[in-house]
Amino acid sequence: MTASSLITPGAHPASVAVLDRIGSIELPTKRNEAWRYAPHAKLAKLSFGPSVSPAPSVPAEVEQQIPVLDGPTIVIVNGVVDSEQSKLDQLPTGLSVSTLAEVAANEPERLDGHFKPTTDDAFAAANIAFGTDGAVMTVGEGVRLDAPIHIVNISIPGETHNAACAGVVIDLGTASSATVVETRIGSGEGVIGGSNTRTTITLAANASLEHIVLQDLPISQIQLSTVGVTQAEGSEFVGRSFNIGASFGRLEYLVDLAADGARVDLSGLFFGRGDQVLDQQITVIHGALDGVSTQSYRGVLDDNSVGVFNGGIDVRPGANGTDAAQSNANLLLSDRAEINTQPRLEILADEVACKHGATVGQLDETALYYMRSRGIPADEARRLLIDAFADQTLEGVGIETIRSWVRERLGHTDG
């Protein structure tokens, strides 16, 4: 297949350019720290290509998994926006939403930042080449949106290519605020497939965004996701992730506190069973004065599952007044489950407060006995303790629909 046959009409120039060299970019290996625990053999089976339009229709059982939120909804199926499923009528004043394909064709310069790779791995390149559709949204200066904007990314492995790419671009104007929820689900039990999502977020001064990722793809699939955030002065980014499904669920955050007084609060839960590998790769760059960052992740790992928390705090020279904290608490439910937790701290400024800590534990046997002595059966007592551990990651989530969506997926009892 020649490169030209892969070009999507109207694609951004960067998408076209990367096609010339995409064949020569090698897949990451175990030697790449950021991909060390990835299932490389499975990754090699992913075949990315241009999105096929129209995308297949969404099976009812997948549709039923979509959390119902009040607000605008953009549905992306195999990398292509499904305008019939999307709900974009009656957008609130100050919010504009377009498809990425439209913007790439008409105002490509708006996407220059999105298509500039921060890492040169094959999957980033694949997304630049083939992630030619998706959602682009802009929140106007001073606009405060109440209802969450919902991006539903559905993956139904196709025949020609089993993996699709999509892009999400979010720009918040000065002193605006919004909530964006990205739900990643799909179908195709037993069929290897994957999805590769790239989210680029820019926050102007004093803007505030809450961004929630809900990942519950079928166990046959791979989910690769990169969220890049650039923050101006006084802005605030709250990123929450619930990494639950997929055989390999990889979530990468690269947050750049590029101006003074920016704050970022990242937290999440990864909950693995079977042979799942759930991987969080976090880097926060403190590039200016008085930045505040927190990373707080919890892992629950059962069976043979593997969790990865690779958390970076990168304090650049002169970024005085930095206050950075990182924590990763893990609950191992099986002797065979594995957690790999690693802080990466690079501190090149003087007046800096930085702390990090990780814990790995098992269910508290004394608490189990105490509950059982009160008549609660062993299985239910275990369930209660696991839920209690996982629930702490839901505390900051204000949307009840999302809390119950996550709880349901953890096999939660009525709480």
């Binding site: 008549g375 609660i376 059966p377 239910e380 209660l384 709480g415």
Partner: protein, 260 residues
């Protein structure tokens, strides 16, 4: 109601209970007193079914063999253990915990589960017994509770579970006199002709408030003396020294007997 015969318990190769016999009739309150390390708590946990002990002998409750049962089945059979050190369970709401416990037991017994509203009425009544405020129910189980609050929470659970046999393990430890009064009055109000209790304590003090029908002295894994309340008073004056010496003498005689 409860029959304990020749109960032995070892942990990690160390024998702690060495042939304990005890019979508790319906409606009776028995006190078990003993010095530190005599096996009081081990006895309590052997009754409740804690893992990790090597157990011998028999325990029957209302004719059922307890030793074959999991802790949750023992609770459903009507056993309740008030812990010396109640366990903190962060993230589990106290009310939800109590309702789950009660409904688990009811389910095992083939009874209907209790809904949230009816349960609240049950809980409110129980809370009055131990002078607890409503906010107790909305906190995580024992998490951040003071020593006295934890012990009151144990008695609250007992009031909700309405056990056939309540075993209270050093419920008085770490309590000031006011908290002790509240707890004792809660316990006393739960006494009844169909409910038996075993009150385990190191000190006689608790027995001024909860008057036992029988007192047993546990030394080195065995009951060495049984009597009525006056036995507790004797211990208050003389301590455990009499019994410990007797034990040592008896052990000494056994040793010399073996040698000859």
């Amino acid at each position: 109601m409860l029959q304990v015969e020749n109960l032995t318990a070892s942990i990690g190769g160390t024998q702690i209970l060495k042939g304990l016999d005890l019979s508790v009739g319906t409606g009776e309150v028995h006190a078990i007193m003993g010095p530190n390390g005599s096996g009081k708590s081990t006895f309590a946990h052997a009754l409740a079914g804690r893992d990790g002990y090597e157990i011998g002998g028999t325990i029957t409750l209302d004719g059922q063999d307890l030793l074959d049962m999991e802790p949750e089945a023992r609770a459903a059979a009507g056993l309740f253990l008030g812990f010396q050190y109640p366990v903190e369970i962060p993230g589990v709401n106290n009310m939800y915990f109590l309702r789950t416990a009660l409904n688990s037991v009811r389910k095992t017994r083939g009874e209907d589960e209790i809904g949230a509203r009816d349960f609240l009425a049950v809980a409110n009544k129980a809370m009055e017994l131990v002078e607890m405020k409503q906010d107790f129910l909305h906190r995580a189980v024992n998490a951040g509770f003071s020593g006295g609050e934890k012990k009151r929470n144990e008695i609250l659970q007992m009031a909700i579970m309405q056990p056939r046999l309540a075993v209270l393990d050093e419920t008085d430890s770490g309590l000031d006199i006011d908290a002790l009064r509240v707890i004792a009055s809660g316990v006393n109000s739960l006494r009844g002709p169909d409910r038996s209790m075993i009150v385990i304590t190191h000190y006689q003090r608790l027995l001024d408030y909860i008057e036992p029908d029988f007192v047993h002295v546990l030394v080195d894994g065995k009951i060495v003396k049984s009597g009525d309340r006056t036995l507790a008073m004797h211990l208050e004056v003389n301590g455990y020294a009499d019994f410990i010496d007797e034990e040592n003498d008896a052990a000494g005689r056994a040793m010399s007997g073996a040698k000859s």
